[in-house]
Amino acid sequence: MTTDITVPADLWEGETEGVITAWLVNDGAEVAQGDLVAEVMVEKAQYEIEAPVSGRLSITKEEDEVVSKGTLIATLQA
């Protein structure tokens, strides 16, 4: 089963874009539910993103790529 990791849709107002500032695990790594996997910066705020489930991480947005609210940044294959 595949689970999406997205930028939270309710994090900020308006249409300001953010940027992925860091992936904390490598593409293809096995992660556990709750592990920190990425950091997104918007409005000078660093927001840590966790793995919603356990699985193998497949990154779809690289570091320094611009993201909007709700953007798919990775998937987890259980």
Binding site: L11, E43, A45, Q46
Partner: protein, 240 residues
Amino acid sequence: MTPACSLERDSQTLHRPSVAEGLALEEALLESICHGEGDFGLVAWSPQDRALVMPRRHERLEGFPEARAALAAQGWPIQFRSTGGTPVPQCPAVINVALALRCRVTGSAAHLEWGYRRLGMPWCDWLSELGVTAPNLGEAPGAYCDGRFNVRIGERKLVGTAQRWRRVRGCRDMAMLAHGAMQVGETPETLVGVVNAFQAAIGDPERFSPASHIALGQLLPEARVEAALPGLLARLAEDA
């Protein structure tokens, strides 16, 4: 957004650590919230030494090692922080205040805006009490590390703000660290010059303007800011 808070006034004084120790104090504050050790925390600090502080992602910039060496040679070693934004000088002329809260995330939007107002509005009230005219929150075009929620005086940046959000262990609550850095002493030219030196060293053509910044000492040269600081911390604790 509902902050679930029980007040712990463990720090009503100004700490005088090194820059590295001050940044570690803030990280420890956030971690204490994440580990459920409290729902609220405050720390105020002003460094004894100086450094140019930026998010770690700047380390990926081409030419960063050379820029780091150049700034160190000028007496401004580079250090990294966990909040967002761009390079900011830290030195004894700057007072930092970090507010950490445990927040129960509901369906409401705009966590970030809420956090900035939670830090910035009491700061504006405190400045008004000191006699500063019409402090407000907003952008300061031309300022380094600009954002939508600086504390401004006459549209010049006095306090830069930034945040970090982390999940509280074992539940859906979030821990927020909101940080403000207020220039009290020195002149804007001095600190802007440091950031512009980094810009030059890294090969970025953007330059920042001293006219977009202001120091509290320029407005209130007689003010005893450290003596007044507990008033700011008390205001920040009021809503906790």
